[in-house]
């Protein structure tokens, strides 16, 4: 291993170093430096994105680097850029929020950067060891971010719940990995694929390992019945953090999920597919139903994100090349829609507190027509109505499921998408058909950076919805990675 082997790893190294620098700068700058720190964090992320594009792209086919720990392929580049975009948008959205709070910005920004490093390792891991440590880096940073507002009881509660359940799921995951390693003798994803393919009959211990790894992964992407931490964690976390964890870590977990299940465990797809089928169906049914009764927007969006993980899981159930790239596309689209929706939650303020109930949106269309229109786009997108990108995302996932012969599952998904319209439109109805009843209606905070980010998300949601071609093509290039092409 020579120094030049590290060149493709430069983006991650740079980002981690930037995280360290910002951590130190945060101590000297203190509370006044929030904007500077977040600005430099964003700059570091942009540089990282460029570095990924320059150094992190595969030349020719997928390249295994650094002792088989990481792989360079289009899937990795795709997910890395999604995550970096999510981190950038979430960081910019946090600036004003953090400035209005009594908490400092150094640790916050550097934790977001460290989480991004972890996610990037997850996206390009080619070995269960590197995937797992990437996951832990991301998860640990995120636990701290969730509890970052340490004087808020809700934030504490959310962090503790998230941490305890996350640690449990990591334990399950590692136990599964240890069984897989014990039976197959390798942690390398390709090695596992070969070993499983060469096995006439699935070894029981290996099967148990696969099941436990599956449970761990379902936990991380919040699939029923492993979703119970999600609403509490999302509700209690500081809103920009909620926005961040609902997209970045979710995309990273899906990247890892794809690599492990459609890459390494693919020879045994018949064995685990049924479990995933049931989980996807249960998730869509349960999450969409539960979201109907939520009055807190953050909780509602939490259930909505669980439901979306259920839709995305259909692509993995399909197990085909199209299933794979449709999940990638879905994650891209979902990232922008969800970040945009949370942008409004950050901005809405009701009597000095965050406006988190659905009633706070009453009459928004009259007072802020542009904002209401933006929120409408995101609600339509999340519900999957054309011409937004949400429709395209669902279309491809459903098509992949149908193509693989999962008509029943697709029917459930379509029906539950219709159900989801009810709760997304509760907000729309409040905005357009109700007046603010109270003497002091909820107000939008003026924060041009958040507004700009919301605008970016609106633009992306509409653009991909109208003209999905380039994104589809880009996602399709990712499939070469796992040998499914």
């Amino acid at each position: 291993m020579s120094l030049s082997d590290f060149i493709p790893f430069v983006p991650e190294i740079f980002l981690a170093a930037a995280g360290l620098g910002i951590l130190l700068a945060g101590i000297t700058l203190g509370k006044k430096g929030v904007r500077t720190l977040i600005g430099s964090g964003v700059a570091a992320l942009i540089v990282t994105a460029v570095l990924v594009w320059v150094f992190g792209r595969p030349q020719g086919g997928p390249q295994v680097i650094l002792g088989g720990m990481l792989v360079l392929d289009n899937l990795a580049v795709f997910f890395k850029l999604i995550m970096i975009a999510a981190s950038i948008i979430a960081l910019i959205m946090s600036a004003g929020f953090l400035e209005r709070s009594p908490y400092g910005g150094g640790e916050y920004t550097s934790l977001v950067l460290f989480a991004t490093v972890g996610m990037m390792v997850m996206a390009s891991g080619a070995n269960l060891a590197s995937l797992y440590v990437g996951l832990e880096l991301m998860a640990l940073s995120v636990y701290i971010l969730v509890g970052y507002f340490k004087l808020e009881v809700k934030s504490n509660e959310a962090a503790v719940k998230y941490f305890v359940l996350g640690a449990l799921s990591s334990g399950i995951l590692v136990y599964g990995i240890s069984l897989v390693y014990g039976t197959l003798g390798t942690l390398d994803l390709r090695g596992i694929h070969q070993a499983l393919a060469g096995m006439a009959k699935l070894n029981w211990a290996a099967g148990l390992g696969i099941v436990l790894v599956g449970f761990g992964m379902l936990f991380k992407v919040a699939i029923v019945p492993f979703h119970v931490w999600t609403p509490d964690a999302y509700e209690g976390a500081p809103t920009p953090v909620t926005a961040f964890i609902s997209v970045g870590p979710k995309a990273a977990a899906f990247a890892m999920f794809l690599r492990i299940f459609l890459g390494a465990f693919e020879p045994n797809i018949a064995a685990w597919r049924t479990v995933m089928w049931v989980a996807a169906a249960a998730t869509m049914i349960f999450a969409n139903t539960a979201a109907l009764t939520q009055n807190n927007v953050k909780r509602m969006l939490a259930y909505s994100s669980i439901a979306h993980a259920g839709y995305a899981l259909m692509g993995i159930v399909a197990g085909t090349a199209m299933g794979l790239w449709s999940v990638m596309l879905y994650m891209l689209i979902y990232t922008f829609m969800n970040l945009g929706a949370f942008g409004f939650v950050i901005l809405l303020e009701s009597r000095g507190y965050a406006g988190e109930t659905i009633q706070d949106y009453a009459g928004l269309a009259k007072r802020h027509p542009a904002a209401a229109a933006g929120m409408l786009v995101f609600m339509l997108g999340l519900a999957g109505i054309p011409p937004t990108a949400g429709f395209m995302g669902k279309l491809y996932v459903f098509a992949a499921a149908v193509q693989a012969g999962y008509v029943g599952l697709t029917v459930i998904a379509v029906v539950m998408s219709a159900v989801s319209l009810f709760y997304y439109f509760r907000i729309v109805v409040q905005m357009y058909l109700h007046d603010g009843e109270e003497d002091e209606p909820a107000e939008l905070i003026r924060d041009r950076w958040v507004e700009a980010m919301i605008f970016v998300c609106v633009a992306a949601t509409l653009f991909i919805g109208v003209y999905p071609g380039p994104m589809v093509g880009w996602a399709r290039a990712g499939i070469s990675a796992l040998g499914l092409g």
């Binding site: 509370k31 650094l66 002792g67 934790l111 440590v133 340490k150 808020e152 211990a205």
Partner: protein, 190 residues
């Protein structure tokens, strides 16, 4: 005597394994947290013995150095600082959840036991030398671990160092008393 000599490794293994399991049971059954911690210490030492038996001397030493010498000391330190004399029975067993927990535990235990008994664990199991060898070169356990850790597994190793840093940052973020926070400035925002 001949039996002892012929089956020396197995006998030592079963003695160590039995003691390790007993220690583990002690951890959850002792009422006094200090006794539980001591029990865990015993388990750690027995596990170190098991490592030696598998010719993983380096792991054994690190097990003693890190777990017994470092982590358990901090456990005891915390136990003594908060001075928990005896756990209340209701704190030990959350009574309402106990039957569910037992049921879930038995089910998972049965699943795992069945998987392990019905399946075969293949890796390096039979060859102790495998723990001393990398790519056919026999180096000794310490060197083999170092070789793998700093070459093949360099990326996870470095990422783990960032994980530890993040854990430290987290502990400080949650633990540090900040002057501006104590005055409660700007608490209204969320």
């Amino acid at each position: 005597m001949a039996f002892l000599v012929a089956h020396f490794t197995q006998i030592v293994f079963y003695v160590l394994a039995l003691l390790a399991v007993l220690g583990g049971i002690g951890v959850v059954t002792f009422k006094n947290p200090v006794h539980s911690a001591l029990s865990l210490l015993g388990t750690f030492l027995m596990v170190a013995g098991l490592f030696v038996l598998r010719h993983a001397e380096f792991l054994a030493a690190v097990q003693v150095l890190v777990y017994a010498g470092g982590i358990m000391v901090l456990f005891l330190f915390v136990i003594m600082l908060v001075n928990v004399k005896k756990l209340q029975p209701e704190a030990v067993f959350l009574s309402a959840q106990a039957p569910m927990a037992v049921l879930a535990g038995v089910l998972v235990g049965a699943l795992v036991a069945f998987g392990l008994l019905a399946g075969k664990l293949a890796a390096a199991g039979g060859v102790p030398a495998a723990l001393q060898t990398v790519d056919g070169k026999v180096l000794g356990n310490t060197e083999a671990v170092g070789w793998l850790l700093y070459r093949q597994y360099l990326v996870p190793f470095e990422v783990v160092s960032v994980v530890l840093l993040v854990a430290m940052v987290g502990a400080i973020v949650f633990g540090l008393k900040s002057a501006s926070l104590d005055r409660g400035e700007g608490r209204a925002e969320r």
